[in-house]
């Protein structure tokens, strides 16, 4: 269920005469089962190229921006995140939640589709969506097996990923970060 700033009514247009589906602000979309998408995403992860998935996220972000009526930088945090959660929900990617850990932000998806082992496909999708909203490249790094992603600058994404793989939990990883790298 989307927030108050997101109205799911009329989000999809089904043209039975032409046999096509159009999403609001996203053009034509296809309905695919996760059992079909998962192998595709896994193959992209194996190849190290998640550009297509990230592009899909960007399109979802543009859909959110269209619902916001313009840019998202000056909009309230709640309005932007509610619209983003609404779009992800109607697209079947799960329920978006965002947590503050000090200055750090941790996004998570309830009922996340299992596309690959480390949720790297979903991480690329969220990264593309949030990058479209922030007008800045954002990296979402998986930091738990339950579908939690830390929003960081792409320059520190690799280090955060290594910390997470070594067993550090969210608190430990966030504790290793400081604004501007100050001690």
């Amino acid at each position: 269920m989307a927030g108050a700033s997101f109205d799911p009514g009329g989000f999809f247009e089904f043209d039975l005469a032409t046999g096509s589906i159009a999403a609001r602000g996203a053009g034509r979309v296809l309905v695919l089962s996760d059992s079909v998408v998962a192998p595709l995403v896994s193959a992209a992860v194996a190849n190290g190229d998640l550009t297509s998935v990230r592009k899909l996220g960007r399109e979802l972000g543009e859909c959110v921006l269209e619902g916001l009526g313009g840019g998202a930088l000056d909009a309230t945090v709640e309005a932007v995140l509610e619209s983003a959660a609404g779009v992800l929900s109607v697209m079947g990617w799960g329920r978006l939640r965002v947590e503050r850990w000090g200055d750090a932000l941790v996004a998570s998806l309830d009922h996340i589709p299992r596309l690959d082992e480390d949720h790297l496909g979903v991480a690329a999708l969220l990264g593309g969506l949030l990058s479209a909203l922030a007008e800045h490249e954002i990296a979402c790094v998986p930091v738990s097996s339950a579908g939690h992603f830390l929003l960081v600058d792409p320059s520190v994404a690799q280090k955060v990923w290594k910390w997470s793989r070594s067993g550090d939990d969210i608190a430990a990883i966030v504790g290793r970060l400081a604004p501007g790298g100050a001690a």
Binding site: D74, V77, L105, L133, A134, K159, R176, L177, P179, G180
Partner: protein, 218 residues
């Protein structure tokens, strides 16, 4: 026995002794023993002496004479064995060392001593029980070991076995183990535990993302 009878008995004994002297072989030793035999005459008669004591006394007094007489009779009357000289019989060793009169008196006294001569001394008997039996005191029964004497005369308190500890009863009972949480009081700080220099929350999405992207490794 009256004193007169005792005196008459003693005189009869003296007469027999004198007769023996005259009838027996004449030797120096019996003659020398005569004064000794007269000694009992000088001694006053003891009224408590019974007849058995008189015989002992007579034996003691005439002991040496009888010994000499026995030897003389043995030498004179025993027929000499063929081939054995009489001197061998005389010098032959006595069959057994006969006790001296003093020894005989002592032995007689010891034999005649009443068995309960030491009645005054308490009879001490030490007995050890074959096996110590534990003293079992039932909790319901009144104890016989209750002290009734005054405190000053009481003996040390006897060591009694204590009733079994209640632990044994607890062991027999079947208790289902269940977690018992220890309730801890929640601390109530009188002042903020820590002060965080927090900035006002980001009002816009742009500011929120900007702070998150500014994070770098320490």
């Amino acid at each position: 026995m009256s004193a007169a009878e005792k005196v008459a008995r003693l005189e009869a004994m003296l007469a027999r002794v004198a007769k023996n002297r005259t009838d027996g072989p004449t030797r120096g030793a019996p003659l020398a023993a005569a004064p000794r035999a007269a000694a009992p005459l000088a001694a006053p008669p003891e009224p408590e002496v019974e007849r058995s004591d008189e015989i002992v006394e007579e034996t003691i007094v005439a002991g040496r004479d009888e010994l000499m007489l026995d030897l003389s009779e043995t030498v004179a009357e025993a027929p000499p064995s063929p081939g054995v000289p009489p001197s061998a019989l005389v010098s032959a060793p006595r069959p057994a060392a006969r006790p001296t009169p003093m020894e005989r008196a002592i032995s007689t006294e010891l034999e005649l001593a009443p068995p309960d001569a030491d009645e005054d001394e308490p009879e001490l008997e030490i007995s050890y029980p074959e096996e110590e039996e534990p003293v079992v005191i039932e909790a319901d029964e009144p104890s016989d070991l209750a002290q009734t004497a005054p405190l000053s005369t009481r003996s040390p308190e006897p060591v009694t076995e204590r009733p079994p500890a209640p632990v044994a009863a607890a062991v027999e009972e079947t208790v289902e183990l269940a977690p018992e949480p220890i309730v801890l009081a929640v601390p109530q700080p009188s002042a903020p535990i820590a002060r965080v220099a927090s900035r006002p929350r980001a009002a816009t999405f742009g500011e929120l993302i900007q702070r998150a992207l500014a994070l770098r490794p320490r």
